[in-house]
Protein backbone atom coordinates (compact mmCIF):
# COMPACT_ATOMS: atom_id res chain seq x y z
CA UNK A 1 0.00 0.00 0.00
CA UNK A 2 1.18 3.53 -0.74
CA UNK A 3 1.24 6.37 1.75
CA UNK A 4 0.75 10.08 1.19
CA UNK A 5 2.74 12.85 2.88
CA UNK A 6 0.07 12.89 5.59
CA UNK A 7 0.47 9.47 7.21
CA UNK A 8 2.30 10.65 10.35
CA UNK A 9 -0.26 13.40 10.91
CA UNK A 10 -3.11 10.95 10.32
CA UNK A 11 -1.73 8.48 12.86
CA UNK A 12 -1.23 11.24 15.42
CA UNK A 13 -4.86 12.35 15.04
CA UNK A 14 -6.73 9.11 15.58
CA UNK A 15 -7.19 8.25 11.91
CA UNK A 16 -8.89 5.00 11.07
CA UNK A 17 -6.88 3.96 8.03
CA UNK A 18 -8.15 1.83 5.15
CA UNK A 19 -6.91 0.65 1.78
CA UNK A 20 -8.51 2.85 -0.87
CA UNK A 21 -7.40 1.85 -4.39
CA UNK A 22 -4.01 0.86 -2.98
CA UNK A 23 -3.66 3.97 -0.81
CA UNK A 24 -3.48 3.99 2.95
CA UNK A 25 -6.10 6.65 3.65
CA UNK A 26 -8.12 7.81 6.67
CA UNK A 27 -11.85 6.99 6.75
CA UNK A 28 -12.16 9.47 9.58
CA UNK A 29 -10.18 11.03 12.40
CA UNK A 30 -10.90 10.73 16.12
CA UNK A 31 -14.22 12.60 16.15
CA UNK A 32 -15.83 10.51 13.43
CA UNK A 33 -17.65 10.91 10.14
CA UNK A 34 -20.75 12.73 11.42
CA UNK A 35 -18.67 15.40 13.12
CA UNK A 36 -16.50 15.89 10.04
CA UNK A 37 -19.49 15.98 7.70
CA UNK A 38 -21.25 18.59 9.81
CA UNK A 39 -18.07 20.66 10.12
CA UNK A 40 -17.76 20.80 6.34
CA UNK A 41 -21.40 21.80 5.87
CA UNK A 42 -21.27 24.52 8.52
CA UNK A 43 -17.66 25.73 8.57
CA UNK A 44 -14.73 24.18 6.67
CA UNK A 45 -13.42 20.68 6.11
CA UNK A 46 -9.86 19.88 5.05
CA UNK A 47 -9.24 16.75 3.00
CA UNK A 48 -6.01 15.18 1.85
CA UNK A 49 -6.86 13.90 -1.62
CA UNK A 50 -3.30 13.29 -2.77
CA UNK A 51 -4.20 9.73 -3.75
CA UNK A 52 -5.89 11.26 -6.78
CA UNK A 53 -3.77 11.63 -9.90
CA UNK A 54 -2.50 14.76 -11.63
CA UNK A 55 -1.28 14.83 -15.20
CA UNK A 56 -0.15 17.82 -17.25
CA UNK A 57 -0.35 17.59 -21.03
CA UNK A 58 1.51 20.29 -22.89
CA UNK A 59 2.86 21.01 -26.33
CA UNK A 60 1.63 21.87 -29.83
CA UNK A 61 -0.88 19.00 -29.94
CA UNK A 62 -1.87 18.99 -26.25
CA UNK A 63 -5.22 20.57 -27.09
CA UNK A 64 -5.91 18.10 -29.86
CA UNK A 65 -5.27 15.12 -27.60
CA UNK A 66 -7.14 16.54 -24.62
CA UNK A 67 -10.14 17.41 -26.74
CA UNK A 68 -10.22 14.00 -28.44
CA UNK A 69 -9.74 11.98 -25.25
CA UNK A 70 -12.44 13.92 -23.38
CA UNK A 71 -16.22 13.93 -23.81
CA UNK A 72 -16.88 17.56 -22.89
CA UNK A 73 -15.93 20.43 -25.20
CA UNK A 74 -12.67 22.20 -24.38
CA UNK A 75 -13.18 24.66 -27.23
CA UNK A 76 -15.72 26.39 -24.97
CA UNK A 77 -13.26 26.87 -22.11
CA UNK A 78 -11.11 29.94 -21.61
CA UNK A 79 -7.69 29.92 -19.97
CA UNK A 80 -8.09 29.83 -16.18
CA UNK A 81 -11.20 27.67 -16.27
CA UNK A 82 -11.98 23.98 -16.03
CA UNK A 83 -14.46 21.40 -17.29
CA UNK A 84 -15.77 18.08 -15.99
CA UNK A 85 -16.06 15.14 -18.38
CA UNK A 86 -15.05 11.58 -19.16
CA UNK A 87 -12.31 9.51 -20.61
CA UNK A 88 -14.05 6.70 -22.49
CA UNK A 89 -12.90 3.34 -23.77
CA UNK A 90 -13.87 2.10 -27.22
CA UNK A 91 -17.12 0.61 -25.94
CA UNK A 92 -18.14 3.96 -24.48
CA UNK A 93 -17.45 2.84 -20.91
CA UNK A 94 -16.12 5.41 -18.46
CA UNK A 95 -12.41 4.76 -17.84
CA UNK A 96 -12.48 7.74 -15.52
CA UNK A 97 -14.31 10.95 -14.73
CA UNK A 98 -11.91 13.85 -14.72
CA UNK A 99 -11.62 17.61 -14.53
CA UNK A 100 -9.41 19.38 -17.07
CA UNK A 101 -7.97 22.77 -16.15
CA UNK A 102 -6.91 24.89 -19.11
CA UNK A 103 -3.65 26.57 -18.13
CA UNK A 104 -2.76 27.83 -21.63
CA UNK A 105 -3.82 27.09 -25.17
CA UNK A 106 -1.20 24.34 -25.22
CA UNK A 107 -1.25 23.28 -21.56
CA UNK A 108 -3.93 21.25 -19.73
CA UNK A 109 -3.90 19.89 -16.20
CA UNK A 110 -5.95 16.73 -15.75
CA UNK A 111 -7.10 15.77 -12.25
CA UNK A 112 -7.95 12.08 -12.29
CA UNK A 113 -9.07 9.48 -9.75
CA UNK A 114 -6.73 7.37 -7.65
CA UNK A 115 -7.88 4.29 -9.53
CA UNK A 116 -7.03 5.99 -12.82
CA UNK A 117 -3.41 6.79 -12.11
CA UNK A 118 -2.22 3.98 -14.34
CA UNK A 119 -5.19 3.24 -16.62
CA UNK A 120 -5.78 6.87 -17.59
CA UNK A 121 -2.13 7.57 -18.34
CA UNK A 122 -1.85 4.37 -20.35
CA UNK A 123 -4.95 5.32 -22.35
CA UNK A 124 -3.72 8.89 -22.90
CA UNK A 125 -0.34 7.60 -24.08
CA UNK A 126 -2.12 5.27 -26.50
CA UNK A 127 -4.15 8.16 -27.94
CA UNK A 128 -1.08 10.44 -27.95
CA UNK A 129 0.92 8.11 -30.15
CA UNK A 130 2.67 10.11 -32.89
CA UNK A 131 1.47 13.47 -31.54
CA UNK A 132 3.79 16.34 -30.63
CA UNK A 133 3.14 16.76 -26.92
CA UNK A 134 4.43 15.90 -23.46
CA UNK A 135 2.55 13.95 -20.79
CA UNK A 136 3.96 14.89 -17.40
CA UNK A 137 2.67 12.83 -14.49
CA UNK A 138 2.71 15.14 -11.46
CA UNK A 139 1.00 12.74 -9.04
CA UNK A 140 4.08 11.95 -6.96
CA UNK A 141 5.69 15.39 -7.23
CA UNK A 142 2.65 17.18 -5.85
CA UNK A 143 0.02 16.83 -3.15
CA UNK A 144 -3.64 17.72 -3.47
CA UNK A 145 -5.68 19.18 -0.62
CA UNK A 146 -9.32 20.20 -0.58
CA UNK A 147 -10.66 22.94 1.67
CA UNK A 148 -14.45 22.89 1.46
CA UNK A 149 -17.34 24.55 3.20
CA UNK A 150 -18.91 27.97 3.77
CA UNK A 151 -15.82 29.28 5.58
CA UNK A 152 -13.23 27.83 3.19
CA UNK A 153 -13.01 31.06 1.23
CA UNK A 154 -12.38 33.23 4.30
CA UNK A 155 -9.76 30.81 5.63
CA UNK A 156 -7.86 30.64 2.38
CA UNK A 157 -8.04 34.41 1.89
CA UNK A 158 -6.32 34.86 5.24
CA UNK A 159 -3.42 32.59 4.25
CA UNK A 160 -2.87 33.15 0.57
CA UNK A 161 -1.03 35.99 -1.16
CA UNK A 162 -0.40 37.02 -4.76
CA UNK A 163 -3.84 35.95 -5.96
CA UNK A 164 -7.33 37.47 -5.77
CA UNK A 165 -9.67 34.64 -4.83
CA UNK A 166 -12.70 36.77 -5.68
CA UNK A 167 -11.55 36.69 -9.29
CA UNK A 168 -11.61 32.89 -9.38
CA UNK A 169 -15.10 31.77 -10.40
CA UNK A 170 -16.59 28.35 -9.70
CA UNK A 171 -14.62 25.90 -11.85
CA UNK A 172 -11.88 28.51 -12.29
CA UNK A 173 -8.35 28.44 -10.93
CA UNK A 174 -5.31 30.57 -10.22
CA UNK A 175 -1.83 30.52 -8.72
CA UNK A 176 -0.75 32.09 -5.47
CA UNK A 177 1.54 31.69 -2.50
CA UNK A 178 1.03 30.28 0.99
CA UNK A 179 3.93 31.19 3.29
CA UNK A 180 5.98 31.83 0.20
CA UNK A 181 5.23 28.39 -1.28
CA UNK A 182 3.67 28.18 -4.72
CA UNK A 183 0.11 26.86 -4.73
CA UNK A 184 -2.29 26.06 -7.56
CA UNK A 185 -5.80 26.98 -6.39
CA UNK A 186 -8.87 25.50 -8.03
CA UNK A 187 -12.45 26.50 -7.18
CA UNK A 188 -13.71 22.95 -7.54
CA UNK A 189 -14.67 20.25 -5.09
CA UNK A 190 -16.60 17.11 -4.29
CA UNK A 191 -18.80 18.15 -1.39
CA UNK A 192 -21.51 20.40 -2.82
CA UNK A 193 -19.99 23.31 -0.91
CA UNK A 194 -18.03 26.34 -1.99
CA UNK A 195 -14.35 25.77 -1.55
CA UNK A 196 -11.06 25.03 -3.15
CA UNK A 197 -8.76 22.25 -4.17
CA UNK A 198 -5.13 23.21 -3.75
CA UNK A 199 -2.22 21.52 -5.49
CA UNK A 200 1.16 22.05 -3.84
CA UNK A 201 4.66 20.66 -4.27
CA UNK A 202 4.87 17.49 -2.25
CA UNK A 203 7.77 18.79 -0.15
CA UNK A 204 5.64 21.79 0.92
CA UNK A 205 2.58 19.68 1.69
CA UNK A 206 3.17 18.94 5.40
CA UNK A 207 3.70 22.64 6.17
CA UNK A 208 0.62 23.77 4.25
CA UNK A 209 -1.53 20.94 5.63
CA UNK A 210 -0.50 21.83 9.20
CA UNK A 211 -1.22 25.48 8.60
CA UNK A 212 -4.68 24.78 7.18
CA UNK A 213 -5.52 22.12 9.77
CA UNK A 214 -4.77 24.48 12.67
CA UNK A 215 -7.07 27.28 11.49
CA UNK A 216 -9.92 27.63 14.01
CA UNK A 217 -12.68 27.12 11.41
CA UNK A 218 -11.11 23.99 9.94
CA UNK A 219 -11.73 20.30 10.70
CA UNK A 220 -9.60 17.62 9.06
CA UNK A 221 -11.83 15.04 7.38
CA UNK A 222 -11.39 11.53 6.04
CA UNK A 223 -12.85 9.66 3.11
CA UNK A 224 -15.99 8.71 5.05
CA UNK A 225 -17.19 12.31 5.26
CA UNK A 226 -15.99 12.89 1.70
CA UNK A 227 -18.28 10.05 0.61
CA UNK A 228 -21.37 11.17 2.53
CA UNK A 229 -20.83 14.77 1.38
CA UNK A 230 -20.48 13.85 -2.29
CA UNK A 231 -23.48 11.57 -2.16
CA UNK A 232 -25.66 14.30 -0.65
CA UNK A 233 -24.41 16.51 -3.48
CA UNK A 234 -25.49 13.80 -5.96
CA UNK A 235 -21.97 13.36 -7.33
CA UNK A 236 -21.02 9.92 -8.67
CA UNK A 237 -18.01 7.96 -7.47
CA UNK A 238 -15.98 6.16 -10.10
CA UNK A 239 -15.70 2.50 -9.15
CA UNK A 240 -19.16 2.57 -7.48
CA UNK A 241 -21.68 4.49 -9.57
CA UNK A 242 -19.76 4.62 -12.82
CA UNK A 243 -17.03 2.40 -14.23
CA UNK A 244 -15.53 1.17 -17.49
CA UNK A 245 -18.70 -0.84 -18.19
CA UNK A 246 -21.02 2.11 -17.55
CA UNK A 247 -21.80 4.82 -20.08
CA UNK A 248 -22.41 8.51 -19.30
CA UNK A 249 -26.06 8.67 -20.43
CA UNK A 250 -27.19 5.81 -18.21
CA UNK A 251 -25.49 7.56 -15.31
CA UNK A 252 -27.45 10.74 -16.06
CA UNK A 253 -24.22 12.47 -16.98
CA UNK A 254 -25.00 13.23 -20.62
CA UNK A 255 -24.62 16.94 -19.85
CA UNK A 256 -20.84 16.38 -19.76
CA UNK A 257 -20.85 14.72 -23.18
CA UNK A 258 -20.88 16.85 -26.32
CA UNK A 259 -21.91 14.51 -29.12
CA UNK A 260 -21.74 17.23 -31.76
CA UNK A 261 -18.36 18.70 -30.89
CA UNK A 262 -15.96 19.20 -33.75
CA UNK A 263 -13.65 16.25 -34.31
CA UNK A 264 -15.71 14.01 -32.03
CA UNK A 265 -14.07 12.10 -29.19
CA UNK A 266 -12.80 8.61 -28.54
CA UNK A 267 -15.62 6.20 -27.70
CA UNK A 268 -18.38 8.38 -29.17
CA UNK A 269 -19.66 5.86 -31.72
CA UNK A 270 -20.38 3.34 -28.98
CA UNK A 271 -22.49 5.71 -26.88
CA UNK A 272 -26.13 4.91 -26.31
CA UNK A 273 -28.16 8.05 -25.63
CA UNK A 274 -31.32 6.00 -24.90
CA UNK A 275 -30.00 3.59 -22.28
CA UNK A 276 -31.92 0.64 -20.89
CA UNK A 277 -31.16 1.66 -17.30
CA UNK A 278 -30.80 4.94 -15.46
CA UNK A 279 -29.00 6.11 -12.38
CA UNK A 280 -31.50 7.67 -9.98
CA UNK A 281 -31.37 9.16 -6.51
CA UNK A 282 -33.57 7.54 -3.88
CA UNK A 283 -34.40 8.15 -0.25
CA UNK A 284 -35.85 5.74 2.28
CA UNK A 285 -38.14 6.74 5.10
CA UNK A 286 -37.59 5.70 8.68
CA UNK A 287 -34.54 3.96 10.03
CA UNK A 288 -33.52 2.30 6.80
CA UNK A 289 -30.24 2.86 5.03
CA UNK A 290 -29.72 1.59 1.50
CA UNK A 291 -26.24 0.19 0.87
CA UNK A 292 -24.20 -0.58 -2.20
CA UNK A 293 -25.42 -3.79 -3.97
CA UNK A 294 -28.84 -3.85 -2.27
CA UNK A 295 -31.50 -4.82 -4.80
CA UNK A 296 -34.12 -2.38 -6.05
CA UNK A 297 -37.53 -3.91 -6.65
CA UNK A 298 -40.89 -2.92 -8.09
CA UNK A 299 -43.91 -5.05 -7.14
CA UNK A 300 -41.56 -7.71 -5.85
CA UNK A 301 -39.64 -7.92 -9.09
CA UNK A 302 -35.94 -7.03 -9.18
CA UNK A 303 -35.45 -3.96 -11.39
CA UNK A 304 -32.13 -2.54 -10.28
CA UNK A 305 -29.35 -2.19 -7.76
CA UNK A 306 -28.00 0.41 -5.35
CA UNK A 307 -24.48 1.54 -6.25
CA UNK A 308 -23.83 3.96 -3.36
CA UNK A 309 -25.82 4.37 -0.19
CA UNK A 310 -25.27 6.18 3.04
CA UNK A 311 -26.98 7.77 6.02
CA UNK A 312 -27.37 11.42 5.07
CA UNK A 313 -26.30 13.46 8.10
CA UNK A 314 -28.06 16.54 6.68
CA UNK A 315 -31.38 14.86 5.78
CA UNK A 316 -31.15 12.36 8.67
CA UNK A 317 -32.25 9.49 6.47
CA UNK A 318 -30.88 6.92 4.09
CA UNK A 319 -30.01 8.12 0.59
CA UNK A 320 -28.63 6.26 -2.40
CA UNK A 321 -27.76 6.24 -6.04
CA UNK A 322 -29.20 3.22 -7.83
CA UNK A 323 -29.51 1.91 -11.35
CA UNK A 324 -33.02 0.88 -12.40
CA UNK A 325 -34.40 -0.34 -15.68
CA UNK A 326 -35.49 2.81 -17.51
CA UNK A 327 -39.12 1.75 -17.81
CA UNK A 328 -39.35 1.46 -14.01
CA UNK A 329 -37.84 4.80 -13.05
CA UNK A 330 -41.25 6.41 -12.54
CA UNK A 331 -42.91 3.32 -11.04
CA UNK A 332 -43.21 2.60 -7.31
CA UNK A 333 -39.85 1.30 -6.14
CA UNK A 334 -38.54 -0.39 -3.03
CA UNK A 335 -35.16 -1.41 -1.71
CA UNK A 336 -34.72 -4.92 -0.39
CA UNK A 337 -33.19 -4.59 3.06
CA UNK A 338 -32.57 -7.96 4.67
CA UNK A 339 -35.63 -9.41 2.95
CA UNK A 340 -37.93 -6.48 3.65
CA UNK A 341 -39.16 -4.30 0.76
CA UNK A 342 -38.70 -0.74 2.03
CA UNK A 343 -40.54 1.84 -0.12
CA UNK A 344 -38.14 4.19 -1.89
CA UNK A 345 -38.83 7.73 -2.94
CA UNK A 346 -37.16 8.91 -6.13
CA UNK A 347 -35.55 12.24 -5.37
CA UNK A 348 -34.23 15.03 -7.50
CA UNK A 349 -30.45 15.32 -7.34
CA UNK A 350 -28.64 16.89 -5.66
CA UNK A 351 -30.06 16.62 -2.18
CA UNK A 352 -27.67 19.21 -0.79
CA UNK A 353 -25.79 21.85 -2.73
CA UNK A 354 -24.65 25.16 -1.30
CA UNK A 355 -22.37 26.38 -4.06
CA UNK A 356 -22.76 30.12 -4.44
CA UNK A 357 -19.65 31.07 -6.42
CA UNK A 358 -20.56 32.20 -9.91
CA UNK A 359 -20.65 29.49 -12.52
CA UNK A 360 -17.80 29.35 -14.97
CA UNK A 361 -18.67 29.81 -18.60
Amino acid sequence: MQNTFCLAWDQAHGAKLVDFHGWNMPVSYAKGILFEHEATRTSAGLFNISHMGRVRISGPQAYKLSQYAFTNDLSKVSIGNALYGFLLNKTGGIIDDVIIYKEANDKFLWIINAGGRETDVEHLKFLASGKDLTIDVLSDKTALLALQGPKADAVLKRLVTDVDLDKIPYFGFGRGLIQGKSVFIMATGYTGEDGYEVMVNVEDAPLIWDLLATQPEVTACGLGARDSLRLEAGLPLHGNDIDDKTQPYEAGLGWAVKMDKEGGFFGKEALNTQPARKLIGITLEGQNIPRSHYKVTSDGQEVGEVTSGVFSPTLKLGIALAYVKTEYKDKPLAVDIRGKAVPAKVGKLPWVRHVTKTKAK
Binding site: I33, G224, S228, Q287, I289, F311, P313, R338
Partner: protein
Protein backbone atom coordinates in the same frame (compact mmCIF):
# COMPACT_ATOMS: atom_id res chain seq x y z
CA UNK B 1 -17.89 -11.73 35.11
CA UNK B 2 -18.02 -10.05 31.72
CA UNK B 3 -17.65 -12.39 28.77
CA UNK B 4 -17.06 -11.61 25.11
CA UNK B 5 -18.03 -13.25 21.84
CA UNK B 6 -15.76 -13.51 18.83
CA UNK B 7 -18.54 -11.63 17.03
CA UNK B 8 -17.67 -8.62 19.28
CA UNK B 9 -20.50 -8.61 21.82
CA UNK B 10 -20.03 -8.42 25.59
CA UNK B 11 -22.27 -10.32 28.01
CA UNK B 12 -22.66 -9.41 31.67
CA UNK B 13 -24.05 -12.14 33.89
CA UNK B 14 -26.82 -10.50 35.95
CA UNK B 15 -27.65 -13.73 37.77
CA UNK B 16 -30.67 -15.99 37.36
CA UNK B 17 -29.74 -16.71 33.73
CA UNK B 18 -30.09 -13.07 32.68
CA UNK B 19 -27.40 -11.32 30.66
CA UNK B 20 -26.94 -7.72 29.66
CA UNK B 21 -25.63 -7.40 26.11
CA UNK B 22 -23.72 -4.75 24.23
CA UNK B 23 -21.01 -4.46 21.62
CA UNK B 24 -17.32 -4.17 22.43
CA UNK B 25 -15.32 -0.94 22.29
CA UNK B 26 -13.46 -2.42 19.37
CA UNK B 27 -16.67 -3.12 17.45
CA UNK B 28 -18.06 0.34 18.21
CA UNK B 29 -14.83 1.92 16.99
CA UNK B 30 -14.80 -0.15 13.82
CA UNK B 31 -18.44 0.55 13.05
CA UNK B 32 -18.18 4.23 14.09
CA UNK B 33 -21.02 6.74 13.88
CA UNK B 34 -23.93 4.42 14.68
CA UNK B 35 -27.10 6.27 13.63
CA UNK B 36 -29.93 3.73 13.92
CA UNK B 37 -30.43 0.57 15.93
CA UNK B 38 -33.29 -1.75 15.10
CA UNK B 39 -34.02 -2.80 18.67
CA UNK B 40 -35.80 -6.10 19.30
CA UNK B 41 -39.19 -6.15 21.01
CA UNK B 42 -39.33 -7.26 24.63
CA UNK B 43 -40.51 -10.86 24.59
CA UNK B 44 -38.77 -11.71 21.34
CA UNK B 45 -37.41 -15.23 21.34
CA UNK B 46 -33.92 -15.63 19.92
CA UNK B 47 -32.62 -18.87 18.52
CA UNK B 48 -28.92 -19.65 18.63
CA UNK B 49 -27.01 -17.40 16.19
CA UNK B 50 -30.10 -15.34 15.42
CA UNK B 51 -29.48 -11.59 15.21
CA UNK B 52 -30.43 -9.67 18.35
CA UNK B 53 -30.44 -6.36 16.51
CA UNK B 54 -29.09 -4.51 13.51
CA UNK B 55 -26.80 -1.55 13.97
CA UNK B 56 -26.64 0.93 11.11
CA UNK B 57 -23.72 3.37 11.01
CA UNK B 58 -23.13 6.08 8.44
CA UNK B 59 -21.04 3.77 6.30
CA UNK B 60 -21.76 0.22 7.42
CA UNK B 61 -24.27 -2.17 8.90
CA UNK B 62 -23.70 -4.93 11.45
CA UNK B 63 -25.64 -7.45 13.52
CA UNK B 64 -25.26 -8.09 17.22
CA UNK B 65 -25.85 -11.62 18.51
CA UNK B 66 -26.99 -13.14 21.75
CA UNK B 67 -27.00 -16.72 23.01
CA UNK B 68 -30.46 -18.33 22.62
CA UNK B 69 -33.05 -16.81 24.92
CA UNK B 70 -35.82 -14.25 25.34
CA UNK B 71 -35.45 -10.47 25.31
CA UNK B 72 -36.64 -9.13 28.68
CA UNK B 73 -35.46 -5.52 28.47
CA UNK B 74 -34.11 -3.16 25.81
CA UNK B 75 -32.15 0.05 26.21
CA UNK B 76 -34.81 2.49 25.02
CA UNK B 77 -32.33 5.38 25.33
CA UNK B 78 -30.85 4.10 22.06
CA UNK B 79 -34.03 4.91 20.15
CA UNK B 80 -33.26 8.61 20.24
CA UNK B 81 -29.54 8.39 20.73
CA UNK B 82 -27.97 5.48 18.90
CA UNK B 83 -24.64 7.29 19.25
CA UNK B 84 -24.49 6.09 22.89
CA UNK B 85 -23.12 2.90 21.42
CA UNK B 86 -20.08 4.87 20.25
CA UNK B 87 -19.80 7.09 23.31
CA UNK B 88 -19.96 4.33 25.90
CA UNK B 89 -20.22 0.92 24.21
CA UNK B 90 -19.44 -1.11 27.28
CA UNK B 91 -21.64 0.97 29.62
CA UNK B 92 -24.55 3.29 28.78
CA UNK B 93 -24.61 1.96 25.23
CA UNK B 94 -25.85 -1.50 26.30
CA UNK B 95 -28.47 -2.94 23.96
CA UNK B 96 -30.69 -5.47 25.74
CA UNK B 97 -31.11 -7.93 28.60
CA UNK B 98 -31.82 -11.51 27.58
CA UNK B 99 -33.09 -14.40 29.69
CA UNK B 100 -30.97 -17.31 28.49
CA UNK B 101 -32.47 -20.66 27.56
CA UNK B 102 -29.34 -22.31 28.91
CA UNK B 103 -28.26 -20.48 32.08
CA UNK B 104 -24.72 -21.83 31.61
CA UNK B 105 -24.36 -20.62 28.03
CA UNK B 106 -21.86 -17.92 28.99
CA UNK B 107 -19.27 -20.47 29.99
CA UNK B 108 -18.55 -21.06 26.32
CA UNK B 109 -17.57 -17.43 25.71
CA UNK B 110 -14.24 -15.64 26.05
CA UNK B 111 -12.70 -13.68 28.88
CA UNK B 112 -11.86 -10.08 28.01
CA UNK B 113 -8.19 -10.98 27.81
CA UNK B 114 -8.82 -13.83 25.37
CA UNK B 115 -11.22 -11.70 23.33
CA UNK B 116 -8.68 -8.93 22.96
CA UNK B 117 -6.20 -11.50 21.64
CA UNK B 118 -8.62 -12.34 18.83
CA UNK B 119 -8.57 -8.76 17.58
CA UNK B 120 -5.88 -8.32 15.02
CA UNK B 121 -3.84 -5.25 15.86
CA UNK B 122 -3.88 -2.61 13.18
Amino acid sequence: MRKFAKTHEWYDDLGGGKVRIGISKHAAHELSDVVFIELPDVGKKLAEKQSLCVLESVKAVADAYSPAGTVVEVNTALKDKAGLVNEDPEGKGWIAVVQLDNPNALSEYLSEEDYLKTIVAH
